[in-house]
């Protein structure tokens, strides 16, 4: 048993690492742009060594979640299928040996937690990776990596809730349904990626003025956003598909119904509205359902505005629950 461990939330474009003690308290944290698609020359070993050097503590358990466990990651961790108990998720770790070039300052070594002969020389060590989750929908599989750990972390705060919904907005937005602290269903929506693609590369983007200087009027921005939500809500179903709705972000500009500066808010409303419309129907949610948004605060607030507009009021926002999730997994595995 160690008194602390290092948790890695290691995604495609960035890494966040946390030194966490046995009480789940974050003692120190480290951030880097070395996501799995942006590794330095020394690869994973070098990034891990940097992280350990930054924390400057004796060797302790290393536990990671996220795309680091994908086929393009440090080592592919299996997907475990959903529904799944969180304990089984926690115990399904993939181990990856790596060479650790010890650079720790000798003065900080805690002789209770590390053997003298483990210092001062290169050694192999174990890096633990949390499994991804998969689910068989009717026509195809769905997957997540990292979000399961965040949901686990967020669940720890929810007492005696039988059924809860977690929304993790982003590039590939996830809706996760839990019951009795099991993940029983989840669905991915490509909302964030599509929004970015359309702004950057499509004809819709050509009609937009993007807000580089934060000069927008928030009332006008919200009005455009809710016009997009309105369209998604009132024209949901097969009669007017998203493929058509998106095009209205061109005609609203063409006919000066929305100023170029606010067209991105309108497009954002269409896309979030479409996701929320589908997510609510898919999870068959009633308005009393507890919904937890996890992620970037501004994005979560936008989702909260949209959910509120759709009649859902029981919403809380959590910024980052990966450290708590990693701590739960570390405890279940007896690392701390």
């Amino acid at each position: 048993m160690y008194t602390q461990f290092i948790g890695f939330d290691w995604g495609t474009s960035s890494l966040r690492a946390y030194l966490i003690n046995f009480d789940g308290m974050i003692i120190n944290q480290y951030e880097s742009a070395h996501g799995i698609m942006h590794l330095p020359e020394g690869g994973y070993d070098e990034v891990i060594a940097h992280t350990l050097a930054y924390f400057n503590v004796p060797l302790c358990p290393l536990l990671a979640c996220g795309m680091v466990g994908s086929a393009q990651g440090f080592k592919e961790a299996s997907y475990i299928s959903c529904p799944q108990s969180l304990e089984k998720l926690a115990l399904n770790l993939t181990k990856k040996e790596f060479v650790y070039k010890n650079t720790i300052n000798q003065n900080t070594i805690n002789q209770n937690t590390i053997n003298q002969n483990q210092t001062n020389q290169d050694q192999t060590h174990i890096f633990h990776i949390v499994a991804g989750m998969s689910i068989a929908h009717k026509h195809s599989m769905d997957v997540m990596r990292g979000e399961e750990t965040q949901v686990l972390g967020a669940l720890a705060d929810l007492n005696a809730i039988d059924s809860a919904v977690f929304i993790l907005p982003g590039t590939h937005s996830k809706w996760v349904l839990t019951e009795n602290k099991q993940i029983i269903n989840f669905t991915t929506y490509m909302t964030g990626e599509l929004f970015s693609l359309l702004k950057t590369h499509s004809i819709l983007g050509r009609g937009m003025i993007l807000d580089q200087n934060n000069s927008k009027d928030s009332v006008l921005a919200k009005r455009a956003f809710t016009q997009g939500l309105d369209l998604a809500q009132s024209e949901s179903g097969s009669q007017a598909s998203l493929l058509h709705q998106l095009f209205t972000a061109r005609t609203k500009g063409l006919f000066k119904e929305i100023e170029a500066l606010y067209l991105e808010d309108y497009l954002s409303g269409i896309l979030l509205g479409s996701e929320i419309q589908a997510g609510l129907a898919n999870q068959k949610l009633i308005k009393q359902t507890q919904i937890t948004l996890i992620g970037n605060q501004n994005l979560c607030k936008l989702y909260q505005t949209a959910l509120d507009y759709f009649g859902f009021k029981n919403i809380q926002i959590k910024e980052n629950t990966a450290p708590q999730g990693l701590w739960q997994i570390a405890k279940i595995n007896g690392f701390i």
Copy 2:
């Protein structure tokens, strides 16, 4: 009255011009990559002069449809609102003067159709542009430029049909409903643009091998395409939105359910299926409805396969009906 005119089908990325006689016969045609977004230094005047020099005929009426009449075009032509009689569309031409540097070979001058003093010197001439069409859907406007002329051309061939549907697949696919030779409704779907964006810039494209060498097995390609259609058809409606369906083009690859070479066919099936599902519902079509596909033959055949799969058999394909449409408009205006 002239014995011939020049019709321009002038879009964003290319120009096609036709020398058409009073019987509607195409005497000669000219193609260039000088779409309105790819003009040479001399701009519109230069491209028109090139076209006239290519045809090497005396000055005759010049009539254009397409994006040349957009705000970014030669001169903005108004949108006339739908429903609309085709005669009123035809008579709603926008005129644009331009300077014509006469380079015609004197030997070809037909003294019956052109005055001697119009040759051998720079002169101004009139370029006619067909109006676009707009329609007020419930929440926003929709627009087209060029497709109305193609539909007009295709309609000329349909005898005594009260109600017909025209689908013009492409970057911005159009579904146009006519009754008694009036355009009464139309809807745009961003199918082609989204397909291209997703293949080129999204995570879905990263999992694909694109067929550069035409080396695909057509049976496997069709199977993947119909799997996409299946998904769109069976999961239509708000419960599983396109934002989720698109992501299955990642998981189908991840779990090796579809080979990387055929993932683009699967994605194409999802998108076409989504468009057709919406188009059929929107136009409230029954299976006996006459559907005419207008455009690129391969793309039209793909739509035909999809429509057939959805139970629609009464489908014809026409490659390019813009010249016929321009001819109708030229006749109504008394140009020929």
